[in-house]
């Protein structure tokens, strides 16, 4: 049989961007430890709806840890206390009977609250739009095996590319910096021959957009990588800095 626990939740409720938010307390009984954190919130919402109250709003979609839609700042950690998982893959077995769990939205100037635990992350799309691509139109590409790419470089590019754009790095950073996110994309392309052509231009454009959108500076605390659900490495930031300096030297 499933093991169950009773918990107390302190959840940030905020009606819209401009409204003043506050914590509300909810008690939940008999939560299966095999359920995921979001399934626990589903149970809470079902309970609230049955009581005629408005459910807690939070972002989620694939519930497989890959879409990057879910967020939540749980007991002081983006995506909660477990390592290398998103909130949707965090399970209640990581908590104990009687625990008080505090749930907040991502808190960053770059991610304004939409409602409750849902935030606006369109700033990330804008950073990608600034240069997070290789400028090739569809059609006319050469054969995929025409250029050989060392396995090591391809694997490393893949590790950088595994960023899911959830924003945990920003939420974890005391400066609200988006450097890990930006550097992961810059690195992925800088590591591949097809991306080298625009490497300097890309680094410059993405960093400029990040600054413009109000994200903070990087002071190398490493909190971003420590909290990243996909374990995107700090070495990406080092590579971004190199690409950025190279770009500046060319100016």
């Amino acid at each position: 049989m499933d093991k169950t626990i009773d918990i107390t939740l302190k959840i940030w409720r905020q009606h819209d961007r401009k409204a003043k938010g506050a914590f509300e307390t909810y008690n939940l009984k008999g939560i299966s430890t095999d359920s995921s954190f979001l399934e626990m919130l589903d149970v809470l919402n079902e309970q609230l709806i049955n009581e005629g109250k408005e459910p807690v709003v939070f972002d989620h979609d694939c519930r497989e840890g890959i879409c990057g839609m879910c967020s939540l700042y749980i007991n002081g950690h983006p995506h909660g206390p477990d390592t290398a998982v998103t909130t949707c893959q965090l399970h209640m077995r990581k908590f104990h009977n009687g625990d008080v769990i505090t749930i907040e939205p991502w808190r960053s100037a770059g991610f304004p609250v939409i409602r409750d635990l849902m935030v606006d992350r369109t700033a990330f799309d804008q950073i990608i739009q600034a240069g997070g691509y290789i400028s090739v139109n569809c059609g006319g590409a050469q054969d995929a095996n025409a250029v050989r790419i060392p396995k090591k470089d391809a694997d490393e590019a893949m590790d950088s590319a595994s960023c899911i754009g959830c924003g945990a790095c920003v939420a974890a950073c005391k400066n609200g910096s988006a450097m890990l996110f930006v550097s992961a994309k810059v690195s992925q392309f800088a590591l591949l021959p097809q991306g080298r052509v625009e490497a300097a231009r890309r680094a410059r454009a993405m960093v400029a957009k990040m600054d413009e959108l109000g994200f903070g500076n990087c002071t190398n605390t490493g909190a971003c990588a420590a909290e990243c659900p996909k374990s995107v490495s700090l070495s990406n930031i080092a590579r971004l800095n190199r690409e950025f300096i190279k770009a500046k030297l060319k100016d």
């Binding site: 299966s32 049955n50 399970h91 990608i128 095996n145 050989r148 396995k151 590019a157 893949m158």
Partner: protein, 647 residues
């Protein structure tokens, strides 16, 4: 009666697409700037189409329900993408990929479309590599491949267990570039709620801004829907929580035919259901069947002991294990197509050999692979999948076999489209999983990514021009036209009706009931009595929905429960349509298994004489049974056979 014209080009199969492109009408660059195209959805199909149409110079408006185009559920595809490159020199070719896809679909797909799909598959890989998609490579620096179900060659390209993610991010990058250039206007957190038709042509959409709750109108010269499948009709599925079939239903109500709704894919390797609170099922990639071996205990008493927790799978001796896929299908073994593998798992569990606490699970075992290749090699191939399994189930798959069970995963059915991917409504196109065209009654693994990107990058950007070429004189539309007014009024009335029920039941609680009905009667095994019962039960559930639904909050603001209620209302329509279609099709083919029609050894028994057609359903109005139209399938290049994965 409308005659279904599939517009298959003249000439031998291998020259049809070339001929089409050589003779189709095009739109010149100056005119492209004057033409607006609405694309709904930003997954592999929608994202790639919006990007490519933007590159060509059309003015594109692209909607998605998530906060970013990168969240579309294509991102969750794990295993890979097929292409006929034959880099492995193992005998692959465009023809073989075409043949495998037709056969895998149990001879219920349109030959010309599938051949075109196989033809452009190679371009997709080239395009993605050029975009910087980090596919897996060998030490020599060339691309690596693995094999998937229903194929005897290795033609699947992959990026770890995150191929869908990488391909989607590739399309998203291209899309972002067009947004920057101003050719694509992106509208995130928007949901389409109706299609607007002016003078018989698709000319716009009514959408709801999910943040403000306001309804908005958008017009265009053509509308492309790329809104995925309706697998969430089962409530529990591998689809994302917001995946839905509503746009398909809106188009169906406006006159687009819904094709083969009963063809739903139940994927064999998912993490089993474990509790009532469960919100979704997690897929374990088909690629695992390259090295994992599927088994249940040979003896019923062993299965019983395992269910009671008295015995561990690792304690079952080799000779007491029944590797039932290898036993039944020696030629393809663990790599039989999904429908075959799912049914075989159900057969063993129904017979009392299932494992796990519920008895609804089978083992997927890597011990032999770990012995053969070493733990490190297995980790390199499947590491992220093993980690995901461990996080969810709390068991280490390196030490004990995984438990898996079939779950709703993909829908082959969808909006009927012709060779140009246009529906029965002029100017309305459907691409990717939203259409029905390429997978027949069963989709092969790693073919969804291929189809989505084929449609979006290489097919639609051509075929849509054939439609738009005579639209260049048509000025941009005003959204003040009475057709827009009326459509918006209809959406408003629909929302008000749901908001005013003020009953007691949450959306999810009703959706779960629908899921049970669908899984039990319109799932892996179907029969006449069960399907008739399903229709009755869905009608009863509809009454509950319209009399006892409760949506808290208001309609003119962000309201997640309202969003879910609107989707559920449409799932109730789709569920019934699936049951009608399954009832009509008195044969078994692919994922559609009618228990009355099976061979003596339990395989699907097709009836080509009476059912070699695409069933196309036309909406006839509320409460009325839809009318059935048939698109007969003619196979010119392929000899139609009983599917055989045994020899």
């Amino acid at each position: 009666m409308t005659k279904l014209d599939s517009k298959i080009p003249e000439g031998p199969l291998s020259e049809k697409w070339t001929n089409y492109k050589a003779h189709q009408k095009l739109v010149n660059p100056a005119n492209k700037r004057r033409l607006d195209i609405i694309v709904v959805g930003t997954g592999l199909a929608g994202g790639s189409a919006a990007a490519t149409l933007g590159e060509l110079g059309f003015k594109v408006i692209n909607f998605c329900i998530q906060d970013s185009p990168r969240r579309a559920h294509s991102i969750a595809a794990q295993g890979g993408i097929n292409a006929a490159k034959n880099y492995q020199n193992d005998g692959d070719s465009v023809y073989r990929l075409f043949y495998d896809t037709i056969k895998g679909g149990d001879y219920r797909a349109r030959e010309a479309n599938v051949y075109r799909l196989a033809e452009v598959s190679n371009n997709i890989i080239d395009q993605c590599v050029a975009q910087g998609v980090p596919f897996a490579r060998e030490y020599g620096g060339l691309l690596d491949n693995r094999s998937f179900g229903g194929a005897q060659v290795s033609r699947t390209f992959y990026a770890k267990g995150q191929t869908g993610q990488q391909l989607l991010l590739g399309a998203y990058s291209s899309l972002s570039r067009q947004v920057k250039k101003g050719n694509v206007v992106l509208k995130t957190r928007y949901e389409m709620l109706d299609l607007v038709i002016v003078d018989g042509r698709a000319r716009g959409v009514i959408v709801r801004n999910l943040v403000t709750g306001k309804l908005e109108r958008y017009s265009a010269h053509a509308v492309v829907v790329a809104t995925g499948g309706y697998g969430n009709v089962y409530f529990l599925s591998t689809n994302a929580m917001a995946s839905n079939g509503s746009v398909a239903v809106q188009c169906y109500r406006k006159g687009a035919y819904f094709a083969n709704p009963a063809f739903a894919q139940i994927h064999p390797t998912c993490i089993p259901v474990h509790g009532e609170y469960q919100s979704k099922l997690t897929l374990m990639s088909e690629s695992l069947r390259n090295d994992g071996r599927i088994w249940v205990p040979k003896k019923k008493e062993d299965a019983e002991a395992i269910r009671q927790g008295k015995l561990k799978p690792t304690q079952i001796k080799e000779e007491d294990r029944d590797y039932y896929l290898e036993r039944r299908y020696p030629a393809f073994g663990n790599l039989v197509p999904r429908d075959v593998a799912s049914r075989a798992a159900k057969e063993r569990c129904d017979a009392g050999y299932g494992v796990g606490s519920t008895g609804l699970a089978v083992y997927l075992d890597f011990s032999e692979a770990i012995q053969r290749l070493g733990r490190e090699a297995v980790e390199a191939r499947y590491g992220n999948l093993f980690q995901m399994y461990e996080k969810i189930v709390d068991e280490n798959p390196y030490e004990t076999p995984m438990m898996i069970f079939p779950a709703s995963h993909y829908t082959m059915g969808g909006l009927w489209v012709d060779y140009e991917l246009m529906t029965t409504i002029p100017g309305l196109f459907a691409i990717g999983e939203a259409n029905f065209s390429d997978h027949g009654a069963n989709r092969l693994g790693a073919s969804a990514l291929m189809q989505g990107l084929a449609d979006g990058y290489f097919v639609l950007p051509y075929t849509i021009q054939n439609y738009l070429s005579d639209q260049i004189q048509v000025p941009r539309f005003s959204t003040d036209l009475p057709e827009f007014e009326e459509a918006e009024k209809g959406v408003k009335a629909r929302i008000e009706r749901l908001m005013n029920i003020k009953g007691h039941r949450s959306v999810d609680s009703i959706h779960k009931e629908l899921g049970h009905i669908m899984w039990n009667y319109v799932g892996m095994g179907r029969n006449k009595a069960g399907l008739e019962l399903a229709i009755k039960k869905i009608d009863e559930l509809k009454e509950v929905f319209y009399s006892d639904l409760r949506i808290p909050g208001a309609a003119d603001t962000l309201n997640v429960e309202l969003e879910k209620a609107l989707r559920l209302e449409d799932f109730l329509v789709i569920g019934k349509l699936m049951a009608y279609d399954a009832l009509n099709r008195e044969e078994s083919c692919g994922g559609h298994f009618r228990e009355e029609y099976q061979t003596p050894d339990g395989e699907a028994q097709r009836n080509d004489k009476d059912y070699m057609y695409v069933s196309c359903w036309k909406y006839e109005g509320k409460g009325k049974k839809p009318e059935l139209f048939k698109e007969e399938l003619n196979y010119e290049a392929i000899k139609v056979q009983q599917r055989n994965y045994k020899q």
